[in-house]
Amino acid sequence: MKALGRFAKDINRNKALLLMVLPATLWFIFFAYLPMIGTVISFKEYRVSQDGFLASIIHSKWVGFDNFKFLFSTEDAFVITRNTLLYNAVFIVVGLVLAVGLAIVLSEIANKRLAKWYQTGMFLPYFLSWVIVGYFVYSFLSFDRGMVNKIAAAFGADPVQWYSDPKYWPLIIIVVFLWKSIGYNSVVYLAAIMGIDKSLYEAAMIDGANKWQQIRNITLPMLMPLMTILTLLAIGRIFYADFGLFYQVPRDSGTLYSVTNVIDTYVYRGLKTTGEIGMSTAAGLYQSFVGFVLVITSNYVVRRFNKDNALF
């Protein structure tokens, strides 16, 4: 009784704050928690029933883990897992270094107008869809009309069939991904840098610290919590590959699958003829489950080192 009263009092006292988180809470309930009920589909052979969606779920046959088998049944399982994990690991590490580096560079540019110009320029690709980016890349790499081959021909080199030679693609994928995403991430870090108390730098300057020392001893430590949180969140999505990047940019070229097939493209290619909802749900559940385990583990590791930087 007493606890209940305290709870009501708590609510009353924080009503303004609670009201503010209400929209996000509702969003999560409707779009994140309620759909979790749908994960039971991954253990069923989904068949449509006349009486609507819930009836369909209830009447569909239980099949245990059958829907997950296609993810592990062939040697492709190794290729797609390796590609997904390695690419994402590279994206996380290189993306972090570049984004923080660029944010620091941008914050140090004295000409603020010019800094804004660079920032916008880097930000722009983030808004392009992968289909458009795919055509940009194609205009460079097309065999007979691409810019790269044209330039190579001007220097007397032989043209390269970019879309059928896997050895170039790990690099191309990474460069294209970074080009598209780096602007957005660096703006996040730039905002954090702007929020650092200027008096810290003034004090450092008085003590005779040079630029490099200021960056190493003030900027980077101040950015550390943000870097940890964003990295932890990225690790949670390490099993999700960017479909557009791995499907549109290599133009779905079969000869490149050894280096471009990832979990998401594998699922798409495998299920587009059968359209088994149970199997695609199974793939989604598998990805989220691995992501969940990884986030919990890495958060635990972070907490061992520094409690304040951990997510929870």
């Binding site: 589909i41 449509v48 059958d66 070229s253 000869t255």
Partner: protein
Amino acid sequence: MSNNRKKMTLTLASVLAASLALSACGSSNGNASGGSASPSASGGGSPAKGESVELNWYTIGTPQKDVDKVMQEVSKYTKDKIGVTVKMTMIDWGDYNQKMQVLTASGTPMDIMFTASWAFDYVQNARKGAFKPIDDLLKKEGAGIVSTLDPAFLEGSKVDGHNYGIPAYKELPSQEVWRFNKQILDADKLDISNIRSLESLEPLLKAVKEKNPDVMPFQVDKNYGPYVPYDYLIEKFPLAVKLDDNSYKVVNVLETPEMKQALQTMHKYYTAGYIPTEAATTESSSDAMVTGKWFVDKATTQPFADNLWSTSAGYPIVSTPLSDALIYNWSVMGSMQAISANSKHPEKAMEFLNLLNTDPVLRNMVDSGIEGTHYKKIDDTHMENLPESKNYDMPTFSLGNVMLTYLNPGDPENKWDEFKKYNAAGKPAVLLGFNFDMSKVSNEIAAINNAKEAYWAPLMTGTVDPDKYLPKAIDKLKAAGLDKVMAEAQAQLDAWKAANNK
């Protein structure tokens, strides 16, 4: 587009799951209360006089601006005739398959929907329970369809002995042709009268390559597959039965001598520079069609197809057959309208489909829009599009019986008679009527599709050397479980053969 695909494979199903679960609850409540409010007004589902039921019609094609306007006119007409009004929802070509899968899986209220062998797969979705079986409806409300439509259509579109959709009355057999750009044919004084096989093209390709360096001799894109005398169990899936094989043996088409020879020829053409370098990753040949810088390609024909192609390309195109005209499962099921399993008014939906396939007024209104606004008639059988038709440009073949539609200017008077003759001359292909049920082997199919996609387009377009890559592809397919699928297919085919006394 990428977004849609991603959503389809992973999240959309589960995200929509929740929202539609909610809306499903909502709608069933709505029905319950609606039913109790007026218990006697509408007995047995048929509306009383003056009332009408609204049919939700989902069909394929780029959404048109004037759809609602035209459907209002259509509704006026159908309300008087059979007491229904129509609401049409168009879903664009590329999205149709995925959106319809989600819409049906989630139980969205629908009455009529487009389905085909190539979009929102008819056979699979019939088996998944998306459509209502219409055998009984066809006897009563659909009697007009049965008497109009060539019986081969309804017979050929049966799934496990039942009809689930009404095929559009159009060309029935499918025949592959070589299409030639007549300008180049004339300029180089080439003769196509002896052309038939892939190999017979060679001297022409060579001549074109020498005389017209800026022209692509053989226009090929990633959808290309050489013609081999086999009937595929699933489209673009390596299992097939040879056309004249009375023992119905399922084979891996990549292991057949015909396919091997065709791929070797393709590779020879590719290395000779007759085929575009990036054929294996080119989505479509539409660019080449626009520029006219091509000499030959492969297409599927119908009566007067040369006229059609020449009109749309803006320069003369001629063709010559490379295969016989045969009736395949996929040519019968090329365009169908089905009644949704969750339709509240299946009888009314069938009445509407019956009218659509038998009544020229309704059929042409749905096809060309409002007379005087979107088109005008020039004589009894011909019509001409007006400028407004750009707001209502519908894919004719997807909306039922095409034999009822008005002719375009320049179409011969006997066009539909020729279609009927062409249909009558078609012979059934070996697998006509057999539909492979892949639900038992869906895990293997998923794995095989991945293995197949890695090799299919590069091999078919001649981009890679079949001597090297064909064995690799066969090994990969075997590793992914092709043998198991083949055994399952053979078992189903044998059972079908026994049941049908083949």
